[in-house]
Every structure is written in structure tokens, then in C-alpha cells.
Amino acid sequence: MKPAVILFPGSNREQDAVRALRLVAGAKPQVVWHAEHELPPGTDLVVLPGGFSYGDYLRCGAIAARANIMEAVRAHAARGGLVLGICNGFQILCEAGLLPGVLVRNARLRFVCREVLLRVERADTAFTKAYRKSDLIRIPVAHGEGNYTADETTIARLEHDGRIAFRYARRDGQIDQTDGPNGAINGIAGIYSEKFNVLGMMPHPENYIEPEIGPTDGRGLFESLAGALKAA
């Protein structure tokens, strides 16, 4: 497994991502500066980490989406390479057009940092094989703009194609319509690209991997990636 973690000015969870890839997937991630034009040779997973790239000024992720390295990320995705965008990374993927829709301000207009329950919508992708379908996992969110929205046709297509990766759920497994952290449409917490090789998600699995710190439900995502890339 050869992951590359992209560092934009203002990224701030890149070390959290590196630690998760190291501890859970046994990888030695390379940190790649946004101004580069190429990914390190052999890169098989690109991670866009959390943070406030360019201060999230203008719109979250908007300026980072136009960075040099994004051309290489686009090409990598087009070849079927795996891309994981977490939080700001998800916002960047949407702004770059690698995923549809957009993340706008939380419905309550406040930043929110708390643990949420996520329902795993499918367990047959490179990102989720270590989970079971409909598993409820505990993962924290930490964002001010995680309210996923898109036009009706886009949402309908995402739903129809099974491209919702995770939804904010209640304890009984139902979608959290009222009390979700951010008001996202249909409780959407993460989505896949058409070929299921690009995943964008608001919650932070990389912060829930060590028993010393808290729950470890985030490990499954990195274990899945390790498995998928070993098999490949």
C-alpha cells in the first residue's frame, strides 16, 4: 500500500490521517505538498485530509480544489485509483468536481464537534469491506460546513446508484432527520463516485482508531483500504 496524503496550506489533520494509515494499515504514507504536479510513483491511495485549506475563505475547499496537485489527483481517480477525502478533503472533492454536490453551512450555523452514529450503507467497496452493511459505527464530526446538498436529480441518482457511503443515524438505525449534526439531505455523511473509487465523508474515522483515546470504529475504514490494496 502506497498512500499519499496531500498537504494544502491550512490543512491540519494530515498527521491524524498519517497516524491512522501507519497504525491501522501498516503503511508509510508520503506527505505531498499541494504545489507539486505529480504524485509519488506507485501511489495507490490519495488522501485529502481535514483542515481549513486556505482558511476555508471564499467557500470551504474552493481554493484548494484549484491547486496544482489536483490535476494529478484527477488523473489518478480517472485511472480508477482510490481517493479518500475526509471533511475538508470531501469539500475539496466536491469543489473539484470529483464528487457531485456541495457542502454548505451547518443548518444550525455553528461549528459542531461531537461523536455521531453512522450507518454503513454498503460493505462491498474498497473503503468498507471490513464493516457489515447497516453496521452502526461511532465516529466524531468536527466541521462548520458539512451540510451536504445537491439538486434533486443528483440526489436521486446517488440514491438510485447506491452511492451513499454513510448516513447519520439514530440508535435504532433509522436516518437521523431531525437531530443530525448538520442538516445534510437524507442524512448523507459520505458519498462515492460513480466507480466507487472516490469516497468523500465529513466524519473523522482517523480520530477513532486507538482504544487509549476512545472508540475504535474508525479502524474498519483503514483496514478495508489495506485489504483492498493488498489484494490488488
Binding site: N12, F52, F111, H204
Partner: protein, 591 residues
Amino acid sequence: MTTPLNSDRTAVNSIPNTSRITPELVAEHGLKPEEYEHFVKLIGREPSITELGIVSAMWNEHCSYKSSKVWLRTLPTKSPRVIQGPGENAGVVDIGNGLAVVFKMESHNHPSFIEPYQGAGTGVGGILRDVFTMGARPIAALNFLRFGDCHNVKTRRLLAGVVAGIGGYGNSFGVPTVGGSVGFHKRYNGNILVNAMAVGLARADEIFYAAATGVGRAIVYLGSKTGRDGIHGATMASAEFGADAEEKRPTVQVGDPFAEKLLLEACLEIMKAGCVVAIQDMGAAGLTSSAVEMGAKGGLGVELNLDAVPCRETGMTAYEMMLSESQERMLMVIADGKEDEAEAIFRKWGLDFAIVGRTTDTLRFVVKHNGVVEADLPIKELGDQAPEYRRPYEEPLPRPVVAPEDVRTNASVADALERLIASPDLCSKRWVWEQYDHLIGGNTVQRPGGDAAVVRIEDGPKALALTTDVTPRYCEADPFEGGKQAVAEAWRNLTAVGATPIAVTDNLNFGNPEKPEIMGQFVACVKGIGAACEALDFPVVSGNVSLYNETNGKGILPTPAIGGVGLIEDLHKSMTLAFKAAGEPVLLVGK
């Protein structure tokens, strides 16, 4: 730039002023007549307007601690662990394994009242800079907040703005905000308290200090550009600089957490590359206090060439540049021959970098602009010989102790409990700390909501415990006991999570020290804090004093906030406050 060294050691005889230095002008700069006379005697002539601005910045309460210094000196500041006590940007304490914890607390009360979001945000920015200037990467932030009566609409707006501002800055910068305190009382109606604390981690043998060394070394300006932010002497300024002065001089700065994050990374990189001899952040009184402190502490002169200062606005005068409080800026002395390497690192991060001066052997602080000497002052006197007061104070009379049997109530225990839980001071503060990213970094072992926050150090098993405490109404009732109690509470909160308390920082928020009863509160609180710290072997390694906090002429409750830091050797042995199982005995310790 090739400014020649200031080789002639005699001061200039005079620097022409366009407008006269009148007593009114002196007063508008916050200098008492006797302070001004003292200054004139020191320099042997009438000061220039720029010099007046410089001395007013250096000798104001905030920079010089002139009312509090004599009392602060009574606090215990040493222990075998203490590497650096008060006097630097932050305190430094050894935590073993070659590591040190670097921390400090600072107030941003007034700006937060005027513009809560930006005021609180720049408060966080300032304290983070204090910590990373010393070579430490910030690993946690806390905040201590007091607001007025919570039924006021104004209070709600202030609370919402301050909390959003703290989150807006800390979350974007990328430090977990793991704890703090929020309280309400009508005595804060017109003067809220916003105290921010930052905690960083550094290698114990790679701490950076403000004292400059070496003659002829480059003094470098780093970070964001200089604008007319927060310049003091407003009334004078409007006379001197035209009618649009109000528009030109916002008294509140806008923070740029993004620039600060870049500044952090660039500073740590440049330090690692061995480029830095001395470093000081430009906080209040920006360029003035940073340059003077670097020189005064290092026993060197400083010559600045303001033509090289990166400015955001055109036509800035020397006076304005020296007093600007623009945020996200630093001053550094660069190691010989390392200028290019340092510059390359800063450019990579997209930050300004300019050589704005040199160290000299003259012990004078010389400021040049457009080829003209605008200031030429003795640097030691400016830095170290600020006036110091032993202000008159009244010994506070502790309020009589209230006996439980004298308190009449017909509330049932259940009703009383309900009222307690519902009171704004005691209710859950989740609404507040959910707006702070308290998990970033992946090291937050205990989150807000417990007795103290616990943050893992690197990959463990060590961890730090962090808390901020004081109960202002105790300090009002009996300042000495209240001061003691604040320290004891911080100590208990740390021990309750299994930590050994190692040191404290403080933020002493009081009213007008020129009133003997307020000064009396201050003195007694400091004595109480000192007594408790002494008894507990809990040294004070950094802190901040905020005076003149008043609402309609009446002082706030005396509020000496204590920030406590404890060390946990093995985080697996730390404790949380939740009951773990049914049927277990509950013990009460103490009487």
C-alpha cells in the same frame, strides 16, 4: 538592506516635531505628568512624537505591569522542573524524556466586548503565538470566560460571538480546545472576561528565547503585513492625522488563523534549520515592544529601518508602524549567514519576510524612516526602567461567614437540585465546547466535561492534565482565601484525573488598581495564590494581568483565573468522573 551600524554612541540632540508635545498629548498617551518627566530626564530632551508613542506603549499597564510587578514578584516560580518562569513569552516546564511543556494564559477582555468574534479569535491567536515563538507546537487550548447577567440580550450576543470566535480561530489553526470555564454575573455586564490559554510541546533543549545575541545580526520581520490596526492615542491621532482617522484606525484587529497556521509551520521549520538566534512575537504594541524586549533582554542596541517593513496600507508614518497591533507577525534575529535559507522557507509558506534592522552594540533603540531618525532612545531604560508603583491599598475585610442554619429556605432537596442543575453557572457547557474542535490531533484522552482535560503526549503513555479555575464570588467575599481556593481547586481537578500537578499560569482580572479597595483585592488574591502555590509546590511559570476592568465605574468581581497543568506518567492509569458500575460504594474524601 545594508544599514550601517550605529557607531556613534551619543544620542541625537533633538528630533524635530511637527506638532508640540503638550500636556494634553502626554495625557492622551496614558502617561502621568511625573512619568513623562521621568522619561524626559532619562533621554535629556523633549521626545519626538514617535518616541512618545513608543514610551507610552512600553510603559502602559499592559506592557510594564507597573501596578502589579511588586506583588507578582512574591509568587513562587521555581521547582526542579521549571526551565523558564515568568518573563518570557510563556513558561517552560520539564516533563521528562527530553520534552518540555510550554504554556501561558492571556486576556482579550476589552476587544472581545467591542467585537466578540474577532476579539476572542485574536486573543486565541496571540496566546498561540506566545507558545510557538518558544519553539513549541501547540497541542491544546483552553479558555476562561465570564459574561454578564445571562438574561440580557447583549450577554447572549456576546457569548455566541466569543464562543464562535474562539472556535473559528482555534479550529482553523488546528489546535484542540479541550477545556475552560464559563460563568455569568451582572458585575461583568459591561466588561466580559475572555482569557485564553495555550499549551505546547517542545524539546527541552530546543527552547527559543527573546534575548538577542551578537552584534550586527539581521533582525527579520515575518508574517502578515502591517496595517493601522489597534493604534492607541486615538484623540491625538485624529488631530494629527486628519478627519478620517476613525476610519483609518479600527481599534479591533481582524484575525487570520490561516496566516497564523502558516506562520507556525514556517517558524518551526526555520527553527529546526538552525536559523534562529532570538524570536519574539509582535503582540500588543507590536514592533515597539518586540524590538525593545529583544534588545533590552540581550543587552544590545537595535536599529530599525522602517522603509523595509511590509505594509498593507500606504503612507503609514513611523508612529503608526511602531504602534500597529496587526496580528500574525513575528520579529526574529537570524543566525549569521542563514538569511537566505530562512527567507526561502518563509516564501514557500507564502509569508512576508523582510530584514528590517540590525543588532548594535550601542544599547540604543534607533528607528529610521525615509532616511530620518524618528526615535533614538536608551533601550535598557525603555525596557527595564518603566515606572513601578506600590499603589496604596486597603486591607479587604472578609465578609462574615454564613452559617448554614442561618439560611432559610423552604425548597425541597429535589427542587434545590433542579435549580442548581438549571443554573447557568452549573449547567452543562456542551453548547460551548461542541463548537470547539476538541479532538483534532487524535490525542484527547479526556474531553471537555470532566474535572480536567487529558491530552496524550506524542505516542504516550505520558499525558498532560489541564484545567482553568477560580470562583470569583469567593474572591469577592475573602480575596486571600479566594486566591488560595482557586489554586487548590485547580490542584484538585488535576489530581482527580490522576495527574501530578506541576505548574500554573494565571490571568489576574481586576478593576481599577488606582482605587485602594481594588488594589487591596488584588494584593490579597496574589498573597492567597502565593501561599497556596508555596504550600503545594505548584510554581507559577507564566501569567497575565488585566486591570481596569469596570462596569459603570464599578469593578468586576475579582477574578484571578488559574490555569493548572499536571503530568500523568501513564495515561492508562488516569481516571474519569463517570460512575463505572452499579452497586459500588461511593466514598467522600475530606471533611
